[in-house]
């Protein structure tokens, strides 16, 4: 099945000087795809060569099109010696293979060299001719779309959500091959980059095949990871959720879509009054896989808050439910049971999809790596993950859930030990989206429950007497009809219709544990012994901090455990919120071991007072104003008898089952933390040292920050990396914890300081990654986006404070993209933004001259962007409608006016979120998945490790932006830096770093020119929704 790939090398600019004598370069270009190579002529003596080559045509299988990247190498011609490579560009052809994505790749690409970084730019044009028969694609998996976004992409509608797809491919790491001893590190790094690019392509193709088998046309929530296993090889693995997506676009079809989008949620809300809730359950198994022997350990940990106890009560939950529910559940179950793993990598869902959320399920296992003998049959790695997934599945079952949402997998490798982790949220889903035809069946069983939307998913479906597991239940605070649990932990985003009081905040639990240095199996055993304690303590910390914030639910929970030679580092991040439906959290109770000592009592009570003050302050800060029940909790730190018993009860229950693990809490009357205990001191310490976010700042690690909705268009994505050296060899656990805690806190403080000009603003999707790259090093990398919002409006909104309406507004803004009519309206007034631009500027200046320079600039650029886009869409339109060479020429000229030297570079926004505030995503152009290695042998000269990494990250951003711009896009959404492996050898003056980033390239347009510029006039959509 041949396709024709065509590439044209237009020009280069800013090339480096390769010939010292003349201060010039004789550059030419090699274009390689598969095994075919073409060369341009040498363009002598110029740093800005104009090759203007012919079209190089590659006739290839579409399988190759998917696997291979287009390799462009720029070289300096040398008559006498070998030609010097200036650098390379890898172009992923995949976006061109789908008819709905990009149609041409054209633009300036940075020429990248692993030693020198970016060395000038090259202008390239790439097209693919596929002979239009869509059925043909079934042979390979061309045409399957990939999205990093973990929700249904904004201009699509999910017809069917098929479910989990996974695949992994392995290969030998070129760096560890014998040839590495004789070739330069540069050559070996280039080989690595090439190989990983190839493997990613292959992986996508294979996953695509699975999707086609399932009858889907897209993968959403695509998560691809690399495991650099050192000598045992290189694993590239990916998971995702297969879907059948339908584009929401103009004409009759859209009316239809709009109709469904509008009508179904309300139905679904009625359909989903019941939710089953459980706490967290995590299990941890560590079959250590060694060459000689096989030892396996397995145990389960349940946390004090976990309302689930014991093991193996799988599937029992369904039986207790009413007949209707059973029916409903059975349908879904059958739909799901057809699948091996009913997992979904999505974190937010179409309305009505998620019925019940049950809590976090996670599983970890410790493995010893050994050489992968047969790369074509990566059975061991597959088996490992299979094991883990089975475990997750059984946990979910045990929680009475048939599905796992917000599912993700990760690894941490140190030498030959590898920790595999999988986690997700057990949930009950509506089968409507899972199967065609389910819709009709369901509509017959529509229940008449009048529970208000927004608390439904928290409700516990069974009655108190008949609970499948002991849980602390209380009546729902919203509807007072059904029971809800007291705390809810999840890995997903906050559902858009959830009722929330106040704002959310980032909650982190941080922990370090020392470990003896050892090797092989001993090491693995040691780690697997430590793991459950680590997890337990992280969990306790999370729970305490949550209570300290006066909140009762965690979303987006992500627990990372990294292993180093002599320590384990755990970092749990989540966004705490106060779910209106859940009961108000109790205070934290301090107790001493020796209650008769007077001074001691004073000490205890002073700490108690501090804690109570903090809780009150936090409630104020996050605007959690609770009516009724909550007051007595704030008023009296000592819980009422009922609460007291509850606290005690849940605690004692947990210590019962944890008896083999940790008895330190003992069985005492009415306390939560005992300060005699070293662990408790530690807990207390971490509780009280967390600095509150400075005024004007909010932070979360989820997509949406509850309570804030009036974003401006000013966004700033950033990556910050810190490496900390522990010089003191004799550290205690306590000292280590303190250091780690400070490291994270200082990092956050730095971020707040840096971004102070954007206030009021929220750091969204704060994504922390920890690593222990060397013996005494801890590395923390953060990627997030700072988005500013209009302050005056928030306050106003707070007064009007219907959390529900706010949430709805957000939902609305997101959903809005599904209304194509507005799109048309906007494109009909192409000149208006221009006219209003300067005015906007003066307005914003008049209002707040002191702040927010950036947002002003942002606005200016936004209408420039808009104009540019318009030109762009016109061009795209012409290409699509006719295939004559004429529009092609036109497109070229349009494009070239944009990119010729002198004109400025187009702005590309980047964000880890799936949306851009105040803008509509009109088209997804394809997935960006890039892998770079940078090395240096002159570390000091490049400004030390910081200088080196700073330059590299800036280069990575630049390359991502260039690729997006070349696809015709103006933003990357769902951007993430999945890997940042930094290694240094200061003595040799060397360093090396690998970075892997991914995201979705999109085209967005600004919603309207009057969008949010004047605070008085710009109450955007929410006003319509605010109840009178």
């Amino acid at each position: 099945m041949p396709g024709k790939l065509k590439a044209k090398i237009v020009a280069g600019r800013h090339l480096p000087v390769m010939d010292r004598a003349s201060d010039l370069t004789d550059a030419f270009v090699e274009v390689k795809f598969g095994n075919t190579t073409f060369k341009t002529d040498v363009f002598p003596k110029s740093l800005n060569p104009q090759w203007n080559s012919e079209w190089f045509k590659f006739e290839v299988d579409d399988e190759d099109l998917q696997d291979e990247p287009l390799q462009i190498t720029v070289l300096d011609h040398d008559t006498y010696s070998a030609n010097d490579a200036i650098g390379k560009v890898y172009i992923d052809i995949d976006p061109l293979l789908s008819s709905e994505a990009a149609t041409v790749i054209s633009g300036w690409f940075p020429i990248y060299d692993t030693i020198h970084g970016i060395r000038g730019e090259i202008n390239v044009l790439v097209k693919v001719d596929l002979f239009n028969d869509l059925n043909r694609f079934r042979q390979s998996s061309c045409g399957v779309r990939f999205f990093c976004t973990t929700s249904i992409p904004l201009c699509y509608r999910a017809v069917v959500v098929h479910g989990f797809v996974e695949e992994l491919v392995v290969n030998e790491d070129p760096e560890y091959q014998w040839i590495d001893r004789i070739r330069t590190p540069r050559a070996s790094n280039e080989a690595r980059q090439r190989l990983i690019s190839l493997m990613s392509g292959e992986l996508q193709r294979k996953i695509g095949l699975k999707v086609l088998e399932m009858g889907g046309n897209a993968v959403v929530g695509y998560l691809q990871c690399f495991d650099l296993e050192g000598e045992s090889g290189l694993v590239v693995r990916a998971i995702g959720t297969a879907c059948t997506l339908e584009k929401l676009s103009g004409g009759g079809a859209t009316n239809n879509a709009q109709h469904t989008a509008n009508s179904s949620p309300s139905k679904d809300m009625k359909e989903s009054p019941k939710a089953c809730m459980s706490g967290c359950r995590s299990s941890h198994s560590s079959p250590v896989h060694g060459a000689a022997s096989r030892l396996a350990q397995s145990f389960s940990v349940s946390y004090p808050t976990l309302l689930f106890s014991g093991m193996g009560s799988g599937g029992s939950a369904g039986k207790e439910a009413g007949p209707l529910k059973i029916l409903l559940r059975q349908q879904t179950q059958t739909a799901l049971e057809q699948r091996e793993f009913p997992f979904f990598t999505l974190t937010s869902f179409p309305q009505g999809f998620l019925l019940h959320v049950a809590g976090v399920v996670s599983a970890r296992s410790v493995k010893l790596l050994d050489r992968i003998h047969n790369p074509d049959e990566p059975e061991t790695r597959d088996a490992w993950w299979e094991e883990l997934r089975q475990e997750i599945k059984s946990h979910a079952r045990a929680l009475g859930c048939h599905a796992v949402v917000g599912y993700s997998e990760s690894t941490s490798i140190c030498e030959e030990v590898c920790i595999l982790s999988a986690s997700g949220t057990a949930a009950v889903l509506n089968c409507r989206f899972l199967q065609d035809g389910c819709l009709d069946v369901l509509s017959e069983h529509r229940c008449d429950d009048s529970a208000p939307p927004g608390c439904g998913f928290c409700h516990v479906p069974y009655d108190e007497l008949n609970m499948p597991f002991p849980a602390q239940l209380s009546p729902c605070c919203c509807c007072h009809r059904t029971k809800v649990p007291d705390v809810l932990f999840t890995t997903i985003d906050l559902p858009t219709d959830a009722q929330v009081t106040g704002k959310g905040c980032l909650i982190q639990a941080r922990l370090c544990r020392l470990k003896k240095k050892s090797q092989g199996e001993g090491n693995a055993t040691c780690i697997s012994n430590l793991l459950p304690f680590l997890e337990y303590e992280l969990h306790t910390q999370l729970l305490n901090k949550l209570k300290l914030c006066g909140m009762n639910a965690l979303f987006g929970l992500c627990i990372q455990i990294s292993v180093g030679e002599n320590m384990l580092v755990g970092l749990a991040s989540a966004t705490g919120v106060y779910l209106s439906a859940l009961p108000s959290p109790g205070g934290i109770q301090i107790a001493g071991k020796t209650p008769n000592d007077l001074t001691y009592d004073q000490h205890v009570s002073s700490i108690q007072r501090k804690i109570n003050d903090t809780i009150v302050k936090n409630r104020e800060l996050y605007e959690i104003h609770i009516t009724e029940v909550a007051e007595d909790v704030i008023g009296s730190p000592i819980p009422e008898p009922r609460q007291r018993s509850r606290l005690f009860r849940s605690h004692s229950e947990s210590s019962d089952e944890l008896s083999e693990l940790d008895l330190s809490h003992g069985k005492k009357d009415a306390f939560v933390l005992e300060i005699d205990d070293t662990d408790a001191v530690e807990d207390l310490h971490s509780l009280l040292t967390d600095a509150p976010t400075p005024p004007g700042f909010y932070s979360c690690n989820t997509e949406i920050m509850p309570g804030i909705y009036n974003w401006t268009s000013a966004i700033q994505m950033f990556t910050s990396v810190r490496v900390f050296r522990l010089n003191n060899a004799n550290l205690t656990n306590l000292g280590l914890n303190k250091i780690f805690n400070e490291l994270c806190e200082n990092l956050l403080k730095s971020l707040y300081f840096k971004l102070r000009s954007m206030v009021p603003c929220c750091l969204c999707r704060l994504n922390f990654t920890v690593a222990v790259p060397e013996d005494e090093l801890i590395q923390v990398a953060v990627t997030a986006v700072a988005m500013s919002f209009h302050k005056d409006q928030t306050q106003e909104a707070n007064k009007a404070a219907q959390a529900h309406s706010q949430m709805k507004a957000i939902a609305e803004t997101e959903e809005q993209l599904q209304f194509p009519l507005e799109l048309n309206a906007e494109s009909a007034s192409p000149l208006s933004p221009k006219g209003s631009g300067p005015q906007d500027g003066s307005n914003s200046h008049g209002r707040a001259p002191s702040v927010d320079y950036s947002s002003f600039a942002d606005r200016c650029s936004s209408w420039i962007e808009q104009l540019r886009l318009r030109a762009h869409t016109i061009r795209r339109g012409s290409i699509k409608t006719s295939s004559s060479p004429l529009p092609e020429g036109r497109s070229r000229s349009l494009r070239s006016t944009r990119s010729f030297p002198g004109s400025s570079v187009s702005v590309v926004k980047m964000t880890p979120l799936s949306f851009i505030p105040g803008a509509k995503i009109v088209k997804y152009l394809g997935i960006i998945n890039m892998f770079f290695i940078r090395e240096t042998t002159s570390l000091r000269e490049e400004g030390g490790v910081s200088g080196f990494l700073h330059a590299f990250i800036a280069e990575v951003f630049a390359m991502v932006r260039a690729h997006v711009a070349a696809l015709g896009g103006n933003a990357v959404v769902s951007y993430s830096m999945k890997e940042c492996v930094f290694m240094e050898n200061p003595n040799k003056n060397q360093a090396q770093c690998l970075i892997n980033v991914s995201g979705d390239a999109v085209i967005f347009t600004r919603e309207s020119d009057q969008e949010g510029h004047l605070p008085q006039t710009s109450h955007p959509q929410p006003t319509e929704d605010t109840p009178p």
Binding site: R13, H14, W108, P110, I118, E121, A691, P694, Q716, M717, F718, T719, S720, V721, R722, V723, F724, R725, L726, N727, N728, I739, N746, K749, S750, L751, Y752, F753, K754, L755, R756, L777, Q779, S854, A857, D858, C860, S861, P901, G902, S903, S904, V905, V907, V908, K909, M910, G943, V945, S946, G947, L949, H950, I953, A954, F957, A958, R961, A962, F982
Partner: protein
């Protein structure tokens, strides 16, 4: 325990103008942190000095990486490494190429060579500007010089287009390039009272009237070189002082015109011949490169100082020179030589320039006189009323006020006690 690595990279490059200024002023990270702390950045922030240090380091690193691009401002606009909004780019470029008047005053007219660069530490200690900043400014001068050296067309326009500088900066750089090219002597003690802006004004006049480009617009040639032919022709002016009759005739014409128009008429009449000789000699010698270099010092010594000792005021000088030129025009010799007319017109243009320049110089002198009789005291007064020499505290951003010639004239008149 130590932070081994600490970086922050934004998709849109974050740059704080204040930190940029500190970097440009050549501060080390430590000093910059101190200045920022004293400036109160941390007020109202819950942040430690460590945070400030990390922020400063990050930004300094960013600026260092940008510096390569700033050397070729056109590159900044279409580079891909940093995403910087266009208005920010303009700010970066303008500030990078901005210079301290105290510094430029030290190197103005000097050859932009390695030798001069070696002496920068002296300049640094003299002006109080950090050596690093001196080096940047010096390299900027050199870079601009190199860029426009081989270019044709108007100098200011070339600088503006190739280095994307603002009008004002482009004009100033044109002056610097022009002075460096001709190595005009500006460092002598007698010239110390003149600021860079005074010289920049002179340079502007000379560029627009004396250079090859000015003489022949069609030629589209360099603005930097003085028109040799023109300088050669200036020798013809000598007739005004060598021919006794002409000299007398000229004097009587001027005196008739000036009589009763000025209070210092007697002095004018007395010194006419001296002054005329002084001016014409300067003009006639300009074919020698050496004498071109000394143009300004000669003007001060041969013309301005005698005027000043006679207590002329600006208006007197202006009047004198106007009539001096006009009278020369109507001298019989020239009237009858119609062929020469156009040439003489040009020569008088030169004289007019000299008039402008000297008046400009005198305005300064005038201030001296107005201050008191003591010259030293006056110099200080000049310094204070003109724009800069006091090294400006780097945190406040130096925006130099651009003086137009007319402004100066006005200021001068007001300062002059007899002019009212």
């Amino acid at each position: 325990m130590s932070v081994e690595l600490d970086v922050f990279v934004g998709n849109t490059t974050i740059m704080d103008q204040e930190v940029y200024q500190l970097w440009l002023s050549g501060y080390t990270v430590g000093d910059a942190v101190k200045v920022r702390m004293d400036g109160g950045v941390l007020d109202g922030c819950d942040a430690s000095a460590e945070v400030l240090r990390s922020d400063t380091m990050d930004q300094f690193r960013t600026f260092q990486m940008c510096e390569r691009l700033l050397h070729n401002p056109a590159k900044l606009a279409n580079q891909l490494l940093f995403q910087i909004p266009p208005d920010r780019q303009a700010m970066l470029i303008d500030r990078y190429y901005a210079f301290d008047d105290a510094f430029v005053r030290e190197v103005l007219g000097k050859k932009l060579s390695k030798g001069t660069k070696k002496d920068l530490d002296d300049v640094s200690s003299k002006t109080g500007i950090l050596l690093k900043s001196c080096r940047r400014q010096f390299d900027n001068f050199k870079r601009v010089f190199k860029v426009v050296e081989e270019l044709k067309g108007p100098l200011v326009e070339n600088i503006r287009q190739h280095l994307l500088l603002s009008d004002r900066l482009a004009r100033d750089y044109a002056a610097i390039v022009f002075f460096a090219n001709h190595r005009f002597e500006t460092g002598k003690k007698k010239l110390q009272y003149l600021t860079f802006q005074d010289f920049a004004f002179c340079a502007g006049e000379l560029i627009s009237h004396w250079t090859v480009g000015a003489m022949d617009n069609q030629l589209e040639d360099m603005d930097v070189d003085l028109d040799k032919e023109f300088l050669q022709d200036l020798k013809e002016l000598k007739v005004l002082i060598t021919d006794k009759d002409l000299l007398d005739q000229h004097k009587s014409l001027v005196c008739t015109a000036l009589r009763s128009k000025t209070k210092v008429f007697a002095e004018m009449e007395a010194s006419f011949k001296n002054l005329s000789r002084g001016l014409i000699n300067i003009a006639a010698k300009l074919t020698n490169t050496k004498d071109v270099r000394d143009l300004f010092i000669d003007l001060v010594e041969k013309f301005i100082e005698p005027c000043r000792s006679d207590r002329w005021v600006t208006i007197d000088v202006n009047l004198y020179l106007t009539h001096y030129i006009n009278s020369a025009h109507i001298l019989d010799t020239f009237k009858h030589q119609a062929v020469w007319n156009s040439l003489w017109d040009e020569l008088f243009k030169m004289l007019t320039d000299i008039q402008h320049v000297t008046v400009c110089f005198l305005v300064k002198m005038g201030m001296v006189a107005s201050g008191a009789s003591a010259a030293a005291e006056g110099t200080r007064a000049t310094a204070a009323s003109s724009e800069e020499p006091v090294p400006v505290h780097p945190t406040q951003f130096t925006t130099s006020i651009s003086f137009s010639f007319r402004d100066m004239l006005n200021v001068g008149c007001r300062a002059w006690p007899h002019s009212g």
